[in-house]
Amino acid sequence: MRRVIAAVAALAMLALTGAAPAPATAGKSNPAADLKAFQDYFKTSFPKVPFDDFVNGPYAVNKGMRAQWEQIMQFPPYDFELADGKKLFETKFANGKSYGDCFPDKGIGIAQTYPHFDAKTGQVVTLVDAINACRVTNGEAKLDVSKGPMAEIAAYMVSTSHGKRFDVTIPDDPRALAAYEAGKQFFYSRRGQLNFSCASCHVQSAGKRLRGDIIAPALGLVAAFPIYRDAWGNIGTLGRRFVECNAQVRAVAFKPDSTIYHDLEYFLTYMDNGLPVTGPGTRP
């Protein structure tokens, strides 16, 4: 019993020290300054990688992986799902309308603006959300937000934005800034039994080898989604990958369409502003 008491007392002390007051680093939110520091860090860390190439993740920073990838891309593994996505996108709902009716420019070439902040609801809206909202508006059931038809439709919509550059805006609205800051905090906070943050791997260990895989740099990390992942054997959304990442650090994952993952996607996609849209992509 004494051992238990001693151990728990030690833990309690740890908890107390953890509750120390915040350092005076937390100033006013400044996404534009964050973006510059973030992109500069990776440009400096990988001076030989052209800026636009960061969208290719591990293939941008490792020659061997790139050679394999270039072979794979002669017959991209997501081709069938992308074709299905186009078909689904163009299929009319029971009420005669279609996805294109829900979006500006009929949904073609607009993916680079997602996620966007909806001033009416105060929410961050991802492309996946917008697709489901469109379905609900037209009397259809929501789709699973991780894989299957949703990932296929999103893949098609993203593919129509090829060549355009990410242009995510954070309006000067406290709710939008709060969402951005929450996503940023999540990205840098350690979690799970393994005590990793997103940044532990994708900033601090970017480009390094992990059990034979190359860790993708955080810059460009979301630019190729949805992705066909060999480990999945099919195409999936960013929410699906967030769930998987959290489980890998031994943290209980949130729902793929949870508010916190939306905030994280908002932060990460904003950090990719200026990079070309390249999804769907493929990863090991």
């Binding site: 019993m1 238990v4 008491i5 151990a7 728990v8 007392a9 833990l11 309690a12 740890l14 908890a15 020290t17 953890g18 509750a19 120390a20 007051p21 915040a22 350092p23 680093t25 937390a26 939110s29 300054a33 964050d34 520091a37 973030f38 860090y41 406290p174 709060a178 969402a179 800051e181 929450a182 940023k184 905090q185 999540f186 840098y188 906070s189 350690r190 979690r191 799970g192 039994q193 005590n195 943050s197 940044a199 900033v203 601090q204 489980a247 031994r250 943290a251 209980v252 949130f254 508010t259 916190i260 905030d263």
Partner: protein, 124 residues
């Protein structure tokens, strides 16, 4: 507004407070009979000892949920504890529940320390 406050508001509806672990409560409350009883019961692997241990573990995991930092090994240990108790192996079940509580307390401590520690990792 500080990021930590923002996220706390956004991800947690309840208060983020460290619950006192049961054993520490015993320490704080002094040399109460209850502690002696709990200790004896745990050693013997009784249902009562398990009940106390699993209650403490689940309370701690609930708190971890409020900090939005639960760990999968905690969930696994709780599940294994329930299974051992169902098989009437209270010694094992108690040990697993205590392990789950320790993990849950660690996850709470992590969440609390990260409320400020994350700032030092930000690219700037």
């Amino acid at each position: 507004m500080k990021g930590s406050e923002i996220m706390r508001r956004r991800v947690a509806s309840g208060a983020v407070a460290a619950p006192l672990p049961s054993a520490l409560l015993c320490l704080v409350l002094g040399l109460g009979l209850a502690c002696g009883f709990a200790g004896a019961a745990r050693a013997a692997g009784t249902q009562a000892g398990y009940d106390a241990a699993i209650k403490a573990a689940e309370a701690a995991e609930h708190q971890a949920g409020l900090t939005h930092d639960q760990w999968t090994p905690t969930v696994e240990a709780l599940k294994a504890a329930h299974a051992a108790a169902a098989a009437k192996d209270f010694a094992k079940a108690t040990e697993l529940a205590q392990h789950a509580e320790a993990l849950a307390q660690l996850s709470i401590a992590q969440a609390q320390s990260e409320q400020t520690a994350w700032h030092s990792a930000v690219l700037r």
